[in-house]
Symmetry: C2
Subunit: 123 residues, 2 copies
């Protein structure tokens, strides 16, 4: 997979959350966080379509975009990269850091505990 740039990731986030969207819709959401010109967003989404990061439905004049890569894939990909680039490959160190500074709920902690148990039983 082609690693998305930061701007591309912002757009993917919108598509993952909102589902199929037009450029205008995406641009409006981006503008809640920071000012971005319409044609800027358009251009990036066009490039993303070329790269295969999004699909584009051109059957209507106003094109409709959807994410072409799963959120999970991108997450894993970026996680791997962060792991290598900043944590020297030590996943547990990464996990400890993330857990330590998170505000995980009891329910989430339970889920994590369950996963650990599963990992332990698999050995």
């Amino acid at each position: 997979m082609n690693k998305p740039t930061e701007s591309e990731l912002e757009i993917l986030k919108v598509l993952w959350t909102k589902g199929a969207s037009t450029v205008r819709e995406v641009n409006e959401i981006l503008n809640e966080a920071r000012e971005v010109g319409y044609t800027t967003t358009l251009k990036i989404m066009q490039l993303m379509a070329q790269k295969g990061l999004v699909n584009r439905d051109e059957s209507t004049r106003t094109h409709v975009y959807t994410a072409a890569v799963a959120q999970n894939n991108v997450q894993n990909h970026m996680l791997d990269q962060l792991l290598e680039s900043a944590f020297g490959g030590s996943a547990s160190e990464l996990v400890m850091n993330a857990l330590g500074r998170s505000k995980a709920s009891q329910k989430e902690l339970d889920e994590i505990k369950a996963l650990i148990q599963k990992l332990e039983s698999d050995e």
Copy 2:
């Protein structure tokens, strides 16, 4: 803190691992992974010194560099960013992903369990 670029991060990794180093030493280590010109490494390290990412001891002709930012700070910073940019702020989701694909040892799992217990008792 100024977020380090990818090249800068590579260099920081060397300084964190090896401690105080000259440009040549850093460059040689980088070249184990990929070809990088000496002046390229020099230039980036000079820029890093300007940005305050590294300290430079100029008391000898061959300058000696050390990391000016703690590995932990950078890790946390990048984690935060990944959390926001790709995981929608859900730390537990990030943790689950990282754990799921890691080859964490029993010892590491125990450490994580201990941390969870601590988090639970603090509530």
